[in-house]
Each structure stands twice: as C-alpha cells, then as structure tokens.
C-alpha cells in the first residue's frame, strides 16, 4: 500500500519562500541557472572486485553502482536473451528519513525507471549475452546504492548505472561438456555489447518555472517533476511523472525540451570519464 509520506524532511518556511521567489526571478539558492547541473563527478571502475562499477556524484548526492555477472537459465519467454536485473537500495545513513529494511516504493520506482530506460533503448544487446541459446545466458545484476541524499537521486543513479555498464569488463564464458556446463573465465575480460547510451534528466516544476537537477531543499518545494530518459541522439527512452502535482500538456513539452538540452551535460561527463580510463 502506498501512503502519503509523513516523515518528510522539514525545511524552514523562510527557506521555502526564498527558494520559490528566487526561482520566480530565474535564480537559485546555490547560484545556479535554472537549467544548470551541480558539480558532477563520475569515476568508472571504482570498485575493483565488481565486473563493472561507477561512482557518481551530483552536488552532495553520492551513488555507487556495481555490476556482478553470473550464468544462468534464461526467462522462458525470452530464451535467447541475457538477463539484466536492476536493484536500488537507499542506505539508511544516506538520509535521516531513510529506514532500514527492504527497498521502499521510492527505491523500487527508481530501479524500475532505470531498468525500463536501459531495456527499452536496448542499451545492451541482450541477445549477444546468450551463451548457449535457450539454455545458458549471462545474468547481469546491476545494484545501485545511494549513500548520500542531496536531491536528484534518479539522475545520479542513472549516471552511475550507465557508466557502470559502459565501463564494465565481463569475464568470458567458457562452454564445456557440450554446453551443459558453462564457466566464467575471470582472466579473459570483454566489454558488454553496448548499443546505446542513456541518461535521465529530472525536471522540476515550481509554479510556472522549470528547474533541472533540484537539490534536496528545492525538492521539498517542487510541485512535481518529470524524469525524462534520453538517448544521445535525443530520442525519448522513458518518462515518469513523479510527485503529486500536475503538468499541463504545454508544460510537459517545455520540460522535455529543457531535459533534452540538459542531457548534453551528462553525456559529455560520461564520455569524458570513459575517455580518461581508456587512456590509462
């Protein structure tokens, strides 16, 4: 059962009204422009034990994603495709409002939005991940862990997730005994069959203005927000209205345009980070 949250962070009324009145003037509390991201840090291969990983930080929000790989049986409705499972956890120390326990509705929503965007845009060619078609396929577990919450978890998580996939080096599967046994050879590593890149941009609505990358205080005053997943060539790969307010049709169109513009920042950060590790 989904419930109106009652343990919200408390933001002082004064701060609230100053955030709103500043946005009305086209300004923000931390001096950014309305369509500007906070400082973005992306470090691929942050965890050496994982087959792929990334450290992503937008402002104070810290997310580390990791990829673990196994071999298993495919889903009966997709026997020739590898399997990818996305899971997100909000670590209790990341925010005073997070509590221990299984992922709550926010974590599940976040994981599912990321999962859908990756799946629908065919970021990974899952059919190439079949080792013995119909029998044995690669299984990818993408785990997204939020360690510090300073607003905009979704964009940060997606940034970590996509960088993880792009930089992953998975062990080669070796088929033995006529395909009955498949082992992973950890010595031989190869990249994932990547077809597309995707990022998610959260656009928040405050009265009639739109802001990109809301920080934690701004999140409290948002009417609602629209998360738009975009491919590098500007296709919309997923969308989710989050929060309890409303958009008019014109506002949605405006938000999508703004998201498209802002997505370039994220892609350039990803490409920059990937280039750096390739040079090494």
């Amino acid at each position: 059962m989904s419930m109106t949250p009652s343990n919200q962070r408390i933001v002082s009324k004064l701060k609230r009204s100053s955030i709103v009145s500043l946005i009305k003037k086209g300004l923000r509390v931390d001096g950014r422009k309305l369509d500007e991201y906070r400082e973005i840090t992306v470090i691929p291969n942050y965890i050496s034990k994982a087959e792929g990983s990334a450290y992503a930080k937008i402002g104070g929000t810290l997310v580390i994603a990791g990829l673990k790989v196994g071999v298993g049986t495919p889903y009966p409705d997709m026997p020739n495709s590898g399997v990818i499972t996305v899971n997100a956890e909000f670590v209790p120390f990341a925010s005073p409002t997070f509590e221990p326990g299984p992922p709550d509705e926010n974590a599940i929503e976040l994981a599912r939005v990321i999962d859908r965007s990756i799946r629908e845009l065919h970021v990974i060619d899952l059919e190439k991940l079949a080792v013995v078609p119909g029998e044995k396929v690669y299984i990818l577990w993408l785990d997204i862990y939020v360690f510090d919450h300073d607003g905009n978890l979704l964009d940060t998580s997606m940034l970590a997730a996509i960088t993880t996939l792009l930089s992953a080096r998975i062990p080669k599967a070796v088929v033995k005994e006529n395909g009955r046994i498949v082992e992973l050879d950890k010595e031989v590593r190869e990249p994932l069959p990547i077809m597309n890149k995707v990022v998610t941009v959260s656009v928040g609505k405050v009265n009639d203005k739109f802001i990109v990358d809301p920080n934690i205080d701004e999140e409290q005053v948002l009417d609602c927000r629209l998360a738009v997943s975009l491919s590098e060539d500007g296709k919309i790969a997923g969308m989710q209205k989050m929060g309890s307010g409303t958009f008019t049709t014109e506002e949605v169109i405006e938000a999508v345009k703004l998201a498209k513009k802002a997505s370039k920042t994220l892609f350039s950060k990803i490409n920059e980070a990937l280039k750096k590790i390739e040079e090494q």
Binding site: S2, T4, E105, A111, L121, G234, K241, T246, K260
Partner: protein
Amino acid sequence: MRYEKIKLVDENGLRIDGRKPDQLRPVKMEVSVLKNADGSAYVEQGNTRVLAAVYGPREVHPKHLTLPDRAILRTRYHMVPYSTDERKSPAPTRREIELSKVIREALESVIFVELYPRTTIDVFIEVIQADAGTRTAGLMAASLALADAGIPMKDLIAAVAIGKVDGTLVLDINQVEDEYGEADMPIAMMPSLGEIVLLQLNGVLSEEEFYEALKLAQKGIAQLYEFEKQALMKKYVEVKVEEV
C-alpha cells in the same frame, strides 16, 4: 513467443482486433457496485476489468502517520492471481508497488485533502482481469469511486495508454500490442482542467512522436470523460426513480 514477429497493423491500417489506430476499446463503467465501501466503481475496457473502492475519510491507525493539515492518502493497486495468463502470486510485486505509488501521486492532486485533516482516505484497486491499460482503467475506477464516496474533488480523472506498434501510434493498447509494441505510454488527465496527473513512458519515441502521442491521448481522454459522466449520471437518474 516473442521472437516470432506478429503484424500488429495490417495494410488497411487496422489493428489486430480490428480497431482503427485512434479507436478505443468498448468501455463499460458502473458506479456504486459494492455495498460496504463508501464509494466504489467498476471499469471495463475491452478485456481489462477493474474494481475500485474508497473508504474514508476515516481515522488513521497507527496515529503517528497522520498529518496535521491534511488527509493522508493510501492506495493499493493489486492484481488478483487469476487476472493474468500465468497465475500471479498474490504478494505485492515490485510493479504493483510502483504503480500504487504513481496512482497515489495522481490522486493526491485531485482530492481536496486539506478539508479532512488527521484522517486517511483509502483507495483500493483490484485488477480482476488484465489486458493492458490496467493502471489507467484503475485510475478511472478510483476517480469514479471517490466521486461516489462524496469526496470533494477538483475533477474526475480520465486515463488512457498510448502505444507505438509497427511504427504507428495507437490509442488504448491491448495486451498483444503492449507485449510486441515498441512503446507504451499511460497518461492520465483531469479533463476539464487540462492537467496531466500521471505520465509514464515505457519505450522509445522521438520528440515529434511524443507530441503526437500527447494529442492522441487527449482525444481518447475526452471520449472517456464522457463515459465517466454518463456512468455517474446513470446512477443518479436511477436513484431518482426510486425516490418517487
């Protein structure tokens, strides 16, 4: 099986069930179908059948969940085990948890929650037969049930899922189109105020296609809104006869 490609739109531009791309499935709506609930509704769209019920505003247990300035809203979207081709476990799945959340957020902007402080309004949606578009049908049933419960609302909610199949944008997708199509975009609006309360996109669309899909959705929503009004009207006309 997924790998045998099905033709979803034929050479005449008709869909797999014979509909035109901008045609809704047959709709049936009924209000006040349950005895106990404060408000209830039944919505049928093609093979999708959904029941919704509302309780409240009522006292919240445990008490610490209350909010001092408004009612809290609790929603549960649930699919019964026999609603799908394969039995679905009755335990809530990740999908149901997410949908409960987006449905709650859609309803929060419609109800005047501030009129009932320290109470809860509970909305339950049970999908009894699933054939795509269950969240949109569920949301419509929920809004009818809320109106039936006499809860003050800004507007009714009309909702529809737009799909992209074989490169064509189609209105109100069915299960086959959902499974084999390229995109699925559920959208819910307050029809007379023109506000979008739920918007999800599962699939890939170009920017132009997305704008086109929004337009198509509005067309479907306008029709569904009329059905909703008829359903409410029908119920009250019947009540009037009884009174005489």
